[in-house]
């Protein structure tokens, strides 16, 4: 067991974990952060995407011990004081989700994408989400969601 200390969605946590435990397992099983889900075992689907020190990572591809000392944000840490994050709002507004299983990862990846490129073209959005699989939406409305969020975020920034 290894002692790790990190911040998850703004809360400081400290735990003894097995060196082989994945970050996504730690989030789900130790912390009850079940908003982050596991969709595959080959890091293809991106359903488990979270932010590690502000950068999107697939939490199935990171060991819990690697997150020691880091700041982790999950889908559960996005809304502030009951107000949805503009990307969450855009996914609802544009019907960017159906079953919702890929949605946490999709939203976290979209945020990362928009941080790097606040005004992406459709092609840049599609390429930026390439690591996240959705089986329901055909991506059409996910792309719309990101476009809408880009507009909202740039509007609020200016």
């Amino acid at each position: 067991m290894t002692r790790i200390q990190l911040t998850v969605d703004g809360d400081s946590v400290s735990d003894d974990v097995e060196p082989r435990q994945l970050l996504v397992q730690y989030l789900r099983e130790n912390l009850g952060k079940t908003g982050t889900v596991v969709g595959c075992d080959t890091s293809n689907c991106g359903a488990c995407t979270v932010h590690l020190d502000g950068q999107s990572v697939k939490a199935c591809n990171v060991l819990a011990v690697q997150a020691d000392g880091c700041d982790v944000t999950t889908i559960e840490g996005l809304a502030r004081n009951g107000a949805l994050h503009p990307v969450q709002e855009a996914f609802r507004e544009c019907h960017g989700l159906q079953c919702g299983f890929c949605t946490p990862g999709m939203i976290m990846q979209s945020l990362d994408l928009l941080k790097d490129n606040p005004d992406p073209s459709e092609e840049e959005i599609r390429l930026g989400l390439e690591g996240n699989l959705c089986r329901c939406t055909g991506y059409h409305n996910i792309v719309r969601s990101v476009q809408q969020a880009a507009g909202t975020l740039s509007g609020s920034a200016s």
Partner: protein, 830 residues
């Protein structure tokens, strides 16, 4: 549209609105209730040991090391539970003599596909269970595996072909026939073909429907808690009600002692329309051990062990007059069942049998299917289930006919389709299509697509010899959905009915709870059904709570598949709401001291005609709850129950147009444009409908271009992870142009038609037709799905005779007949 004009269009406040979904708040914030999220006190975890061999005798299993492993509770083999585990159900024996092998959840003495469960480890943590599963030592003796569908169909003990279940002496499970001549619904197709051989056109083709994997995003998971008075199962399933019934039927546990809950379910697409070995095993273990037990599959397990879909060979013969008027269509199928006849696996081709004639006035039709057992993952419903296969076959054949006649593919369709003034129309299969307007949908689709401009561009590129050619694909589909009239299901030997149930609870505060037997797993029932109830009862959208997916709450239902939730379940909702109004009217009349005949109900109020006296339904709900002043003999309840059994299927249709660019030098294909005009009758929520179509389109496009479950000769699934099974990503797909025409259904009050499967059914042939169209002038008349660059390149190269330049190939192609003598068709349908 005669059928259309007789029916008023629904004009309520909520129906037709782009309501944002009620479901989304919890899904976008991570407050979700997936089965795998559930943790219960003392819960044990299961890991499965699965056969690596497609076919092997289990000579022995040594569980001793695993048993001693840390935190392991028990290890169980098939032999340990042989007497109590039962056999998984097949609900649809399609013929009385169907060969149906026993289907134990844990293999007992023989593994019949690579991935079948042979032992089960139970431990105190999921990790401990998985560690110990590695320590179970199974001794296998490999047996010959029936892998190839055509070879399996031919295998007999005499010819030494591999048999999936040697004790059965055959791989053939059932042979099912529909013939319009014997059914009295049309002519004799063999006569039509013979005649056309003399003085018309006969097109013969063989198409492959490759094996697909539904690949819902949420892996399957099951938790069973045996500690209460009822045994509670949570499962990632589309069918909690059917599952409860079959758990009882198979295990002998009283149905009243079982509660099944489908909490948030992350997609299904038919893939969770199953009663699985894993569910039965977890149920058995929880009962045996007296503790909650959980199993969640890995994605690799899901791809190999959750049922697959499609997998057919289609031998097709279309006869026509010289002008392109079709005179007959003959369909001979081989369908791969995999290792067992699953819940409705045998019936999937039968669901397609009535749709090969599609929107056309074919005068003669014959269909037969031979279902075949192999040593591969068992197959069952995948989005569309039977109808995508039919639509692909007929829409590809109509393009081939158009090429033969030398006219535009839309022209050949127009010549043969049912015109809008011919509805209701009885098809050659005896189905009554209630409404539709193929002309209108096609005209709109052409307009959106820019059909004429793209044809002109195609011509320019052909003439200039552009290495990147443009192809235009057409799919004018219809389908039968809204499963299903119970009498029809009975006549097809299906084991249950096709009705749906709804119940309305009027709460004293005027809020409404709607219970539905349809079990959503991403579709948005909570939103769409709230819109229906809000309009019907005149209450606020926000005041309706839709409850589903729990047999203790929505106690009765047939669940969600076959594009049925709205057209069957929604009609039950309407009926349940109407019953509330009927009951409330009696009480309103009493309280308003008026005759019930003098009351009218609108906008949620009962009004005495011609006066300002009235009461809102919420006030009546409160008065009914108080029950201080009710008419004599009237029960103090407005609650209602309604069960709706459809009288007919439901026939959405649409025209889909696809433009594909094909690089003739590399075989690479790229989608340029996709426009679809669907007619799904009246629409409750346009936003949800467009989402259903988008997602459906991409699943159908994925069959055309990317997805295939590939087995090696030994029967090992090679595409067993998302690295190898290519689900499309955002970068692979484009944005779509959608619109609707409206021919309301005449068989339900709302005038709605199903849309869940429409996109998938329509898009596959549109894409392949476009790919073939791009290179048809080079002599290509087919590309096997998925149309990978290699296959496209090879098709072009083969057409060129393995070499030569484009011009030479064009000349050869012009002289060559369009029919390629297909190889190895002997097995089809014999």
């Amino acid at each position: 549209m005669t059928a259309t004009q007789e029916r008023p269009t629904e004009t309520g406040r909520e129906i037709g609105r782009d309501r944002r979904r009620k479901e989304d708040q919890r899904l976008i914030t991570g407050r979700t209730r997936w089965t795998d999220n559930i943790t219960l006190p003392g819960m044990l975890h299961v890991a499965m040991v699965r056969s690596p061999f497609a076919h092997a005798r289990i000579a022995g299993i040594d569980t001793s090391v695993a048993q001693e492993s840390p935190n392991v509770v028990t290890v169980i083999t098939g032999a340990d539970v042989a007497d109590e585990q039962g056999s998984l159900p097949n609900a649809w024996p399609i013929t009385p003599d169907q060969v149906t092998p026993a289907h134990p959840p844990i293999a007992v003495d023989r593994a019949t596909f690579a991935g079948e469960i042979v032992a089960v480890v139970v431990a105190r943590s999921a990790a401990a269970a998985r560690d110990a599963a590695e320590l179970v030592d199974v001794e296998y003796e490999e047996l010959p595996a029936a892998v190839d569908l055509k070879e399996a169909a031919q295998a007999t003990p005499e010819n030494g072909g591999a048999l999936a279940h040697p004790e059965l002496g055959t791989n053939k499970s059932a042979f099912w026939v529909f013939d319009s001549a014997t059914a009295g619904t049309g002519g004799n197709v063999d006569e039509a073909i013979e005649k056309a051989r003399d003085d018309g056109i006969v097109i013969e083709r063989e198409y492959r429907q490759q094996r697909l994997i539904p690949a819902f995003m949420e892996p399957r998971s099951t938790v069973v808690d045996p500690t209460g008075e009822q045994i509670t199962m949570w499962s990632a399933t589309q069918i909690p009600h059917i599952l409860r019934f079959l758990l009882a039927a198979v295990t002998g546990v009283s149905e009243s002692k079982i509660r099944v809950i489908a909490p948030d379910v992350g997609g299904g697409f038919g893939g969770k329309l199953q009663t699985t070995p894993e569910e039965f095993i977890v149920f058995l273990l929880a009962r045996r051990l007296g503790k909650p037990v959980k199993y969640t599959e890995t994605r690799s397990e899901s791809l190999v062990a959750a049922h697959h879909g499609r997998d057919q060979w289609q031998k097709l013969t279309l006869s026509a007059e010289k002008d392109g008027t079709v005179t007959g269509f003959k369909v001979e199928l081989l369908a791969d069942l995999g290792s067992h006849v699953s819940l409705i696996g045998g019936g999937v081709p039968v669901l397609g049998a009535f749709m090969f004639n599609a929107i056309y006035k074919f005068p003669a039709y014959r269909f037969n299917v031979q279902t075949v057992l192999t040593n591969k993952t068992w197959t069952d419903a995948y989005r569309g289930a039977g109808r995508p296969e039919a639509t692909y076959a007929v829409e590809r054949m109509m393009d081939e006919l158009a090429a033969e006649v030398g006219v535009d593919p839309l022209q050949i369709r127009e010549k043969n389709w049912i015109t809008h003034d011919e509805f209701p129309f009885t098809s050659v299969c005896g189905l009554e299509y209630d409404s539709g307007n193929y002309e209108a949908a096609t005209a709109r689709a052409k307009e959106m697509f820019g059909y004429d401009e793209l044809r002109a561009e195609q011509k320019r590129r052909r003439e200039s010899g552009d290495p990147v050619q443009l192809g235009i694909g057409v799919s004018t589909f219809t389908e039968m959905c809204g499963l299903a009239p119970s009498r029809v299901l009975g006549s097809l030997d299906y084991g249950a009915g096709g009705w749906e149930h709804a119940s309305v609870r009027m709460l004293p505060t005027g809020k409404v709870e709607l219970l539905t037997g349809a079990s959503a797993h991403g579709q948005g029932h909570e939103t769409a059904f709230s819109q229906i109830v809000a309009d019907r009862l005149g209450v606020a959208f926000e005041d309706v709570e839709v409850l589903h997916g729990d047999t203790a709450i929505s106690h009765k239902g047939m669940d969600t598949y076959g594009s049925r939730s709205l057209v069957v379940g929604g009609e039950a909702v309407v009926k349940a709401a109407d019953k509330v109004i009927e009951k409330a009217k009696v009480i309103a009349a009493h309280l308003l001291e008026a005759s019930a005949d003098d009351l009218e109900f609108a906008g949620g109020r009962f009004q005495v005609k011609g006066t300002d006296q009235g009461m809102a339904i919420g006030e009546i709900a409160l008065a009914t709850f108080a029950a201080h002043n009710l008419p004599d003999g009237v029960e103090p309840s407005l609650d209602s129950d309604a069960t709706f059994d459809p009288v007919n299927f439901n026939y959405p249709h649409g025209t889909h147009l696809c433009a594909m660019e094909v690089d003739t030098e590399t075989g690479q294909v790229r989608m340029r444009k996709y426009a679809a005009c669907d007619d799904i009758g009246n629409i409750i929520n346009p936003l949800i409908v467009s989402g259903q179509v988008h997602g459906g389109l991409v699943q159908g496009i994925a069959q055309a271009l990317w997805e295939e479950a590939v087995y090696d000769d030994a029967g090992t699934l090679v595409s067993g992870s998302f690295v190898d099974y290519l689900l499309p990503t955002a970068a692979d797909t484009i944005s779509f142009d959608l619109d609707h025409t409206t021919s309301p259904a005449t068989t339900n009050t709302l005038g709605t038609k199903g849309v869940g499967e429409a996109g998938t059914i329509a898009s596959t042939p549109a894409v392949v037709n476009a790919v073939v169209d791009a290179v048809r002038h080079l002599g290509v008349n087919d590309v096997r799905m998925p149309c990978t660059p290699e296959r496209v390149w090879k098709a072009i190269n083969d057409a060129r005779g393995g070499g030569g330049d484009v011009v030479a190939a064009e000349t050869e192609a012009a002289a060559a007949p369009h029919f390629d003598a297909a190889e190895g068709t002997e097995g089809a349908g014999r």
